[in-house]
């Protein structure tokens, strides 16, 4: 009985910890993004609230909570309420399968540093990222606004297109690791990370992940100067906040996925594994911000052409070649 209680307590503590770190991380991602973008544009970025502007996320949260909660007339009220939740929850749930360290020993038992080591973790991740499309699409649909609808249609088309190349670029990883479990995939990269073994898949995955996060240069769904704010045009207050936080949680999740699939997860010399994992996630997150500060937005048709005519065929060819090479090496 006590064994069971200790197990339960460990799981709850783990979930609470991950939840806390993820939400705080997302809040500070916003700050980091604003500061880095500012420096790239030769400004300071937020530096008024607290030392170096470190309390800015808190001030933003207070502002969002205190704002008027606006519901458009003739909109679909239920879907309007649910959509931001879907966006944030699907982002949060994905982190359940992310292993952020090797198992540690606590109270005489082995505790894996992952909330749930699913043996089909890759599929779980792909499935949830498909579900995340619903949040965006329903939000835009329920708003009863042409900009929101246009944004959600774009989001739908874009996310479905790029999910394809994303899924296809993970197939070589699964082939090389011989497992769908994220922990197994990380363990398969103890020697050489897959980014070096299969750089093409790495590049395709990185680009697809950028598109998947709906950020510049693939931020068609919320292109400010064309369709106001896209799918969240009509949202205000904490509902908008949920979309916003969901986007940044998504950035962290996708960065951890890049880390797990291609950069060898927690493996690295000298430093403790968790530090390595966080460093790699931070690096990829910085790449997200760096790209936002650098590239202009793609045109919609360019986006579709790039996805369907370049990334998908390349990813398909890569799957075949990787499979053939693995067969030849092991055969």
């Amino acid at each position: 009985m006590t064994d069971f209680l200790i197990d339960l307590a460990l799981i709850l503590v783990k979930i609470g910890l991950v939840f806390f770190i993820l939400l705080t991380g997302a809040a500070y991602m916003v700050l980091a993004e604003r500061k880095l973008l500012g420096r790239m544009q030769l400004r300071y970025g937020p530096n008024r609230v607290g030392p170096f502007g470190l309390l800015q996320p808190l001030a933003d949260a207070i502002k969002l909570v205190a704002k008027e909660d606006f519901i458009p007339s003739h909109g679909d009220k239920v879907l309007f309420f649910v959509a931001p939740g879907i966006a944030a929850v699907t982002a949060l749930l994905t982190f359940a399968v992310v292993p952020f360290g090797p198992p540690i020993t606590l109270f005489g038992r082995e505790v894996p540093l992952v909330i749930c080591d699913l043996n089909i973790g890759v599929l779980y991740f792909l499935g949830l990222s498909s579900l995340a499309v619903y949040g965006v699409t329903l939000g835009g649909w329920a708003s009863n606004s042409k900009y929101a609808l246009l944004g959600s249609i774009r989001a739908l088309a874009q996310l479905i297109s790029y999910e394809l190349s994303m899924g296809l670029s993970i197939v070589p990883v699964v082939l090389m690791a011989r497992s769908f479990s994220l922990t197994e995939i990380v363990n398969a990269q103890a020697g050489i990370p897959f980014a070096l073994k299969n750089p093409l898949a790495f590049v395709i995955f990185l680009i697809s992940v950028f598109a998947e996060s709906k950020r510049i240069p693939f931020d068609m769904p919320e292109a400010e100067n064309e369709i106001v704010a896209g799918f969240h045009t009509e949202y205000s207050g904490m509902r908008f906040g949920l979309f916003f936080v969901g986007e940044y949680i998504n950035v962290i999740i996708l960065s951890s996925m890049v880390t797990i699939f291609f950069l060898g997860g927690w493996h690295g010399p000298l430093l403790p594994p968790i530090v390595w994992f966080f460093a790699k996630v931070m690096l990829i997150s910085f790449c997200f911000i760096w790209t936002r500060g650098t590239l202009p937005r793609l045109r919609y048709d360019q986006l579709m052409h790039f996805g369907w005519k370049l990334l998908v065929p390349l990813a398909l060819a890569n799957v075949i070649i990787t499979g053939a090479v693995l067969l030849w090496l092991n055969g």
Binding site: R39, M40, L42, R43, T294, L295
Partner: protein, 176 residues
């Protein structure tokens, strides 16, 4: 080779932003850091005094006439020694557009633009400056200039008594 050019162009931009990340921001964080305005910066208007300490303004209404937004108003009066001055002089800075036309119109260099730009206020009535708010104990940009040493017929000095003048000729002496 256009593909190669495009790829190069894409990655060059990354290098530019990375370089800018480590450069000093150009922002001047205003309330903490202030830039010094140039001496001829056009901000709050002042009324200056001549080197003797007398008011330069002779209440000629030229500034008021030149003002495109009609923010200057005054009432002229004459002192006992014959010097003209403004009984009251008012500039409404909520209207003023700081164009400097009043300073250009002024014949006695009395009204001048100063570089003091921090006059913003929550109450617009605080921006209506009266004569005593406008007057400063200084000559402003042309410190040595004294209008009544060059002009002002017979007011301070007798007629023709200024340094750069000669006394009026006796017309009857000049008869042939």
């Amino acid at each position: 080779m256009t593909l190669w050019r495009d790829i190069k162009g894409t990655f060059k931009a990354y290098w530019v932003t990375l370089r800018n990340l480590f450069r000093r921001p150009v922002t001047i964080q205003y309330p903490d850091e202030k830039r010094t305005p140039y001496p001829r910066y056009r901000a709050r208007i002042v009324l200056t005094r001549d080197p003797d300490g007398g008011e330069r303004c002779v209440a000629c209404y030229l500034c008021s006439a030149a003002c495109p937004v009609d923010c200057i108003s005054m009432q002229a009066e004459e002192r006992e020694d014959g010097r003209r001055q403004a009984a009251w002089f008012r500039i409404n800075f909520t209207r003023c557009i700081f164009c400097g036309l009043c300073a250009e119109a002024c014949p006695t260099l009395a009204i001048q633009m100063s570089p003091d730009y921090e006059i913003c206020n929550r109450d617009p009535l605080n921006l209506v400056y009266e004569k005593e708010d406008l007057l400063i104990n200084d000559g402003g940009k042309d410190n040595e200039y004294n209008f009544y040493k060059h002009a002002g017929i017979g007011v301070v000095n007798p007629r023709g008594g200024n340094d750069d003048e000669t006394p009026p000729a006796n017309v009857k002496d000049l008869l042939p």
